[in-house]
Amino acid sequence: MLEIKNLHCKLEEEDKAILKGVDLTVEAGKVHAIMGPNGSGKSTLSYVLSGRDGYEVTDGSATLLGEDILGMEVEERAAAGMFLAFQYPVEIPGVGNMTFMRTAVNAQRKARGQEEMSSADFLKEVRAKAKDLQIDADMLKRPVNVGFSGGEKKRNEILQMAMLEPKMCIMDETDSGLDVDAMKLVADGVNALRSPDRGFLVITHYQRLLDHIKPDVVHIMYDGRIVKTGGPELALEVEKNGYADIMKESA
């Protein structure tokens, strides 16, 4: 599904390398988790994959279903099936949440040569999916993320994921700022989307989220590289002992 090979990147503005050779393959149907201390490059990896400005890829490659994504525009990556659930979803005053989602869904369909979704069909589907995530009609009507609580913003991310039905979902610290109940709700939403033809990359600091979204593979990232890979037990080890031992091993 997602294949990252020897990915190097630096900040565009200054000569500072962030990713120093990431190798990672996420298979369809699998959930991979990336853990790591602050500043290890986890969020940068998600930004580089989704095409955010400010980073320059200096070496390596990243493909989605065999297609090079690093050369694509941000919106082309989305249409190709890449989805980034933001750590800090952006508030957009003046753009209705519903308008936003319908525009996005239809733009992607159009880019893939599919027929656009009618207003009625869209409304029916978004209402049903919103209900599962306990997103009420008012949240759909309000401007994108404006006045949403932390939990509401994250649920809104999952709703977008559900509507867009991406191939590859990257979740950037989706658990940050969530209480236990909200985390459960978000995790349920994600679990409902797990399917044999969809891959997940879950970036998190803590093992907590992984209690709810059970990963198949856990990676530890440190200083711009994946330094250790294992099963779910690796997350538990980190929870117990912290990153210090792993960092020492890889140093």
Partner: protein, 433 residues
């Protein structure tokens, strides 16, 4: 009175020599004469005048009309299409009776200045030129005085009850050198209500004045779309006087225009009244120059009144936006709630926004705020939209519309607001590069 500086004297004399007073002036005679004496005493503006610092008056002063080819707007539905309104059509300032509806509307008395001004008396006599004259202090507004003196026609609207549908003045611009001067008067009686729409550019260069006197508990809604003509020069004045518990809402949409100066002068004379003046302007300097100036002066001379000024501009390719807005709170105008926001969204480095927000407050128990910002498209918002698959162009348009949304919210009627939003979207579609 001091003599005018020679340059102003010359400019004023030259311009006056091209204008003539109507032969049959009846009840308007004294108002026109007074306005003319104001104009000769104070003269037309010069580039150095403080009030014209950001907008050069040259094209408005010119004795020869700077040419403006008419714009074919048939590629989209007419402005306010689908709004059931009583329509009056003016072609280059000349009333077109055949294209217009009958002037009868329940709850409202409508007449035309040109057809009734020969009489000795008319209800508009107490108003015509009155609010304009009052609005000349403390700031001189020469083109409004010129308008009162020389207006060739206009619509006189007297709301005695609730107008059953809006009145729409539809302007058609056909001649490239037309220079109409139109003067409208609206009188809203106690408890009465009326909506006035204005659509299109009245001419190549035009000067329009609207005087609106809203009596106690009356309501006046005014929505205007100034047409797409790129070369036109416009100078408009909207004067509002508000009685107790009355409401005035005025909104202007401006797309294109080589020169537009829209002035709003509002005065609260009765307590607990509400006035909202707002505008959205969008200009692309690539094909033709775009210069848009909103100049607003709100005077609070009553207790517990609310005023809002919401002006938004989107500028690209060397377009220029100007905002001069003032809230004056007179002694004793306690509990005044004054709000003023002027914002520009610059889509490139070539465009500019010049703003002069002012507050002048002589009462101690008031809440007044003003803000003025100049910014560019928010990169985080743009990335978020694109990360969901919205193409760059569409994402930019969504953010432009979102930026303008606050001003469109000031429009009372959703249907009317929607019709203007459609115009905006169409404009964005046409300026996709």
């Amino acid at each position: 009175m001091m003599a005018l500086p020679q340059v102003k004297q010359d400019a004023t004399d030259a311009r006056l020599s091209t204008l003539s007073l109507p032969v049959q002036d009846g009840w308007t005679r004294s108002a026109r004469a007074d306005a003319l004496s104001r104009l000769t005493a104070r003269g037309l503006p010069a580039a150095r005048d403080e009030y014209w610092r950001f907008t050069r008056p040259t094209d408005l002063n010119a004795t020869e009309v700077p040419g403006a080819a008419p714009m074919d707007e048939s590629d989209e539905a007419p402005i306010f299409d689908g709004i059931d309104a009583l329509t009056l059509v003016f072609r280059d300032g000349v009333f077109d009776a055949d294209a217009s509806d009958d002037l009868r509307l329940e709850g409202v008395e409508i007449s035309r200045l040109a057809s009734v001004q020969g009489a000795d008396i008319h209800w508009a006599k107490d108003l015509y030129g009155t609010l304009e004259a009052k609005g000349q202090d403390p700031v001189w507004r020469p083109f409004a005085a010129l308008n009162t003196a020389f207006a060739a026609d206009g619509v006189l609207i007297h709301a005695t009850g609730t107008g059953t549908r809006p009145i729409c003045i539809r302007y058609v611009h056909e001649k490239s050198d037309s220079d109409p001067i139109l003067h409208h008067v609206v009188k809203v009686d106690e408890g009465a209500a009326v909506t006035l729409l204005e659509a299109g550019a009245p001419g190549a260069r035009f000067n329009t004045v609207l005087e609106a006197d809203v009596a106690d508990t009356g309501t006046f809604h005014h929505v205007r779309a100034q047409g797409r003509n790129r070369e036109r020069r416009a100078n408009t004045h909207t004067f509002g006087r508000l009685g107790r518990e009355s409401v005035l809402k005025s909104f202007t949409l401006s797309l294109n225009g080589a020169l537009t100066r829209n002035e709003h002068i509002v005065e609260f004379t009765g307590d607990n009244a509400v006035a909202h003046v707002a505008g959205a302007a969008i200009g692309d300097g690539r094909i033709a120059p775009f210069h848009h100036d909103d100049t607003v002066f709100v005077t609070h001379d009553a207790v517990n009144c609310e005023s809002r000024q919401v002006f938004k501009k989107v500028l690209k390719n060397g377009a220029v936006g100007v905002f001069q807005g003032k809230i004056l709170v007179k002694p004793g105008a306690q509990k005044t709630d004054g709000y003023q926001i002027s914002q520009a969204l610059l889509l490139d480095d070539d465009s500019q926004f010049l703003a002069k927000p002012e507050l002048e407050i002589y009462a101690d128990d008031v809440a007044c705020s003003h803000g003025s910002t100049t910014g560019s498209i928010d990169e985080d918002m743009l990335f978020y939209l694109k990360a969901r698959g919205v193409p760059h162009r569409r994402a930019m348009d969504l953010l432009v519309l979102a930026f303008l949304a606050e001003s469109l919210h000031e429009i009372e009627s959703d249907d009317i607001a929607e019709s203007l939003r459609t115009r905006l979207e169409n404009w964005l579609d046409r300026h996709a590069d």
